[in-house]
């Protein structure tokens, strides 16, 4: 289990290959990458604030719960903070398991919990000003299925 909270950028593919290489006996690896979208075409940057200390604890707790619920060979979570440009990667999770269903379910679970239970907040700065990204009801609702 590897959890990283960092301001530096990273290459999801490089991380995926390194993760896969160190996992033994897994037949299935699932990855999710979250990317800064520029829906308005006016986004200058996205700034991610987090709660140092609690962030790591929350991510570890979520990852540990995934490992309890599913049969996983390994879990990787990387989440950035600070200013990010459009199209930069915000975060990724990767899961490895013997069978594909465990890896898929665990990755979705990690994402659903990470969205609304890990202390990150996004602010968008655009030509039109700046605003905090509002939490979506659909993200809260997504938790009810687990």
């Amino acid at each position: 289990m590897e959890i990283r909270v960092q301001s530096e950028t990273f290459l999801p593919g490089e991380e995926l290959d390194a993760f896969t290489a160190r996992v033994d006996g897994a037949g299935a690896v699932v990855s999710f990458t979250g990317i800064v979208r520029d829906d308005s075409g006016a986004l200058a940057e996205m700034v991610i604030e987090h709660y140092p200390g609690m962030t790591e604890r929350a991510l570890e707790k979520i990852a540990a719960e995934a490992c309890e619920r599913w049969s996983l060979a390994d879990v990787l979570v990387i989440h950035r903070f600070g200013p990010l440009a459009p199209n930069e990667q915000i975060m990724m999770v990767a899961t490895a398991s013997r069978h594909r269903k465990d890896a898929f379910d665990a990755a979705e679970f990690l994402m659903d919990y990470l969205k609304s239970r890990a202390p990150f907040w996004k602010k968008e700065r655009s030509r039109n000003g700046e605003s905090w990204v509002a939490a979506k009801d659909s993200d809260e609702d997504a938790l009810t299925r687990w």
């Binding site: 979250g34 604030e49 709660y51 200390g53 609690m54 604890r57 929350a58 989440h79 915000i90 975060m91 994402m111 990470l114 969205k115 609304s116 239970r117 890990a118 202390p119 990150f120 907040w121 996004k122 602010k123 905090w132 990204v133 509002a134 939490a135 809260e140």
Partner: protein, 84 residues
């Protein structure tokens, strides 16, 4: 009387105007702490005007506004999280 570090994040931090402060309080619960803060200055009243828009963590664990403060060292207020 207890001494607690109070942290603010995102727009709560912006409204209060600072990320962290040390607070001396008689409050027994988070809700009572919020009442004390609200009474201080307009910017606190503004930050805490709608509790349904806020989340709270005590010692880095998410909890409710009726959570007790006994033994707490750190309380954080922030909007719903938007990670991922």
């Amino acid at each position: 009387m207890r001494v607690i570090d109070v942290l603010y994040f995102a727009w709560v931090r912006e409204r209060v105007g600072l990320p962290k402060e040390r607070v001396e309080t008689e409050a027994e619960t988070v809700a009572q702490l919020v009442e004390e803060l609200r009474g201080r200055e307009e910017r606190y009243a503004l930050a805490f005007s709608d509790l349904s828009a806020l989340r709270v963590a005590v010692d880095q664990e998410l909890t409710d506004f009726d959570a007790p403060l006994a033994g707490a060292r750190e309380v954080a207020f922030f909007p719903p999280m938007t990670g991922g």
